[in-house]
Symmetry: C2
């Protein structure tokens, strides 16, 4: 049994290596540079090894996305729990979200822009994704306003943040005014 266990451990370790390497490469040079050949070379195995862990490139993106979702949830909760008052929490939430997107563009892409084969807003949505949404909802529910469904409010707020994050990063919005945009968004959307 011990031998099998060791092999399983090593296999799991290699899988982590693949995901970490893919993420690293994507952050360094963008997802276009994450080819199966380059990835295989970096982990010092041949291409087919990747396919013994994942169905294909899409699943590797999905794995990076799940990792990112967990980290984002942690970051959001840390920021909101350190802030004071409803307004402070929502502002911190917004800034943390945008900051995460800006600092981890490849992870953000894996999560919300690329196809990682993950189900969203569904019963079989992976737990980390549900939890990241829950982290948003926890802080936003208190400012949704009377008679407004917290989930719906969270969706709208999230969509606005997502729009700002993506348009800013693609230089479709000038990045200088991000602070004022967040201020406006929070002032208007949140019922304080």
């Amino acid at each position: 049994m011990s031998v099998q266990e060791r092999k399983q451990r090593e296999r799991a370790e290699r899988e982590r290596l693949i995901v970490a390497t893919a993420r690293e490469l994507a952050e360094q040079q963008g997802w276009d540079a994450v080819t199966t050949r380059r990835l295989a070379e970096r982990i010092e195995y041949s291409q087919p090894v990747l396919y013994s862990h994942f169905r294909g490139k899409r699943e590797i993106i999905g794995a990076v996305a799940l990792e990112g979702a967990a980290e984002m949830a942690v970051a959001l909760r840390a920021a909101t729990s350190a802030a004071d008052g409803p307004r402070g929490r929502v502002t911190a939430l917004a800034h943390t979200y945008l900051d995460f997107a800006a600092r981890n563009p490849a992870v953000y892409d894996a999560l919300f822009r690329l196809d990682g084969g993950l189900a969203f807003a569904d019963e079989d949505t992976p737990e980390p994704l549900k939890d990241a949404f829950a982290a948003l909802l926890e802080s936003l529910a208190e400012v949704a306003g009377d008679g407004v469904h917290p989930g719906l409010f969270t969706e709208v707020f999230w969509a606005a943040l997502h729009g700002l994050a993506t348009l800013t990063r693609e230089r479709r919005l000038p990045p200088e005014e991000t602070g004022r945009r967040v201020e406006l968004l929070v002032d208007r959307l949140a019922v304080l």
Copy 2:
């Protein structure tokens, strides 16, 4: 001279054919299916002909984007001029925007999701893009609220619409509640 003019005409005509065919193919089967080989085959020329009109695939996407921007501006202005009152205009604007994105996913992608090599929010931004933003601004300026820069307000509103459009289409938001999300967005963001 007449011969040269005829050749120029034919050349311009072929360029239109390329853009129209690329757009059609993208709407039918997605941008991934728009390969230079398939596109060349559809226009009944060889691949290199494409490169005598455009620097590469990216520029073809850009051309489709410009076409789409002009159409979107027309659609937005038509919808808002037919609506009554500030609230009616903003609501119509939002629905028209999301409707355009849903009905022309490939064009929307070319405009706001893919890299068409176009400059945004810059002095050398192509005129159709500036004009589409202007169409948004025209209706949104009247509900920006006192002391809020109309341009900044438009950017935030646009980002929110963009987030809703993209997340809904990628099934990251359930599509059923779009109406209620727009209602909430307009109610909160616009000063009526």
